[in-house]
Subunit: 250 residues, 2 copies
DNA sequence: AAGTGGTCTAGACCACCGC
DNA sequence: CGGTGGTCTAGACCACTTA
């Protein structure tokens, strides 16, 4: 019954429903790292007892978090913090598909790193990541391929303050979101993307084996952590000959 | 208590939960047209009594349908079949934004129809709409602009059997999904899109005021009705100079 | 004041998993 | 078998809208 103060704490202008407070408390444990990816959560009744609410209220909070992709629930097993390795999660943020793909033959591309550097953030990067003057950002460029076929060239930009010690790493792994979680406790909760068609720059069309002036799909992505801050800026240039970006709107 | 048979009817191999049967029954009323867009549904308790289940079970079904965008619930007012006019619905399937847009200045583009024709379906169209040999399809081409600025040229393809009497219409309205609902009782439940970057065909770059060979964003969309059938095939070619396609993944 | 959706509870039972 | 999530119920109370 101690933790009931935790739930009463917020006391916003517009009173939140109880399940929203429960959700905030649980998300807080993910942010703080008290619950790590892959870990099993206490049972619904255990959480309910601890927070002094009913099991149904806890369930509503857990269901919401499951819908957001933060948790995975398995009947008979338990509730787990979702990992970027889970099959269903791997493709959560990966929307590129081969044109003749059947939908089931989804594969995940490998990465070859082309460059890596630590730079002083420019104005745009400072604003994006809310950095101080003089703060630094990592730039990575990589070529991603599927079955030997080059698909896209992309640039990853990470704020140095959220990713210290990166210089000690030889390269980033292929699945970077899993790496962010495992190494830095950063869980990517959602991403915003802007898509445009542009003419491929020379070095990109070379890497992708396209004629110069070939059109490519530009995907400008900002990845948000659980606390709402931007942790990665990514610009991908994807060849459109054999690949497309799929989307479903409901 | 009569309608309990309706709910028992399915009896699938994998027994569905009760709320899923309730959902099916309610969606059936939308499909049949018994409940039309904009109409108010009976209260939770009224539906629960009629179907012989508890109010909580009905609520779970209604909540799901609300999440899918089929219904709109307003506290104190009631539950309504969603209309394509609702502000929140208007932009549900429209993801194009001006590059310098602030996100709040969302506006909806006007349409100018360029052509209209009734043709015998080709092999691809026959397969897509599950048509018989010799069946016909409507082709519409229109230019969409925002504040006088041309944004995209798109082609709409509709199966004649789902849209009879269209020849009597001078043109389709701007908001076609609202029209499908009001005129034919067809509710678009979801759409699948494939995005690619291509070089604009000559007549498209002319309409959009682009140089020849300019890259444009191709959006290939199939719209699905409540019963899962495809009711519209749409290919939009959008200029990428001032516009982009925004997407959020969770 | 009456009617609607929104929240919360308590308890029952089922389905699935792993030991 | 015991523990987990999944479903379903019945009832209470709150918040909002309309008349």
């Amino acid at each position: 019954m101690v933790a009931i103060e935790t739930l009463d704490a917020p006391m916003r202008l517009a009173a939140q429903p109880l399940y929203a407070k429960v959700r905030e408390a649980l998300v807080g444990r993910l942010i703080s790292g008290a619950w790590k990816p892959g870990q099993m959560l206490p049972s619904e009744f255990a959480i309910a007892d601890e927070l002094g609410v009913s099991q149904g209220t806890v369930r509503k909070a857990l269901d919401e978090m499951t819908n957001e992709g933060l948790l995975i629930r398995r009947q008979g097993r338990g509730t787990f913090v979702s990992e970027a390795e889970d099959k269903s999660i791997l493709f959560r943020f990966y929307r590129l598909t081969s044109n003749n793909g059947q939908g089931t033959d989804q594969s995940f591309p490998e990465s070859k790193y082309l460059s890596r550097s630590l730079q002083t953030a420019n104005a745009e990067e400072k604003a994006l990541f809310s950095l101080e003057v003089g703060a630094q950002v990592w730039h990575f460029e990589r070529l991603r391929s599927e079955n030997g076929q080059p698909i896209l060239v992309e640039q990853l930009i990470l704020p140095q303050n959220r990713f210290p010690d990166l210089d000690e790493q030889k390269d980033l792994p292929n699945n970077v979101y899993r790496f962010y979680g495992a190494q830095y406790g950063i869980i990517v909760a959602r991403v915003e993307e802007k898509l445009r068609a542009i003419t491929a720059p020379a070095h990109v069309s070379e890497h992708l084996g396209l004629e110069s002036n070939a059109p490519v799909l530009e995907i400008d992505r900002r990845a948000f952590a659980l606390d709402g801050s931007i942790v990665e800026w990514r610009v991908s240039l994807c060849q459109s000959d054999t690949m497309h970006y799929r989307n479903e709107l409901k």
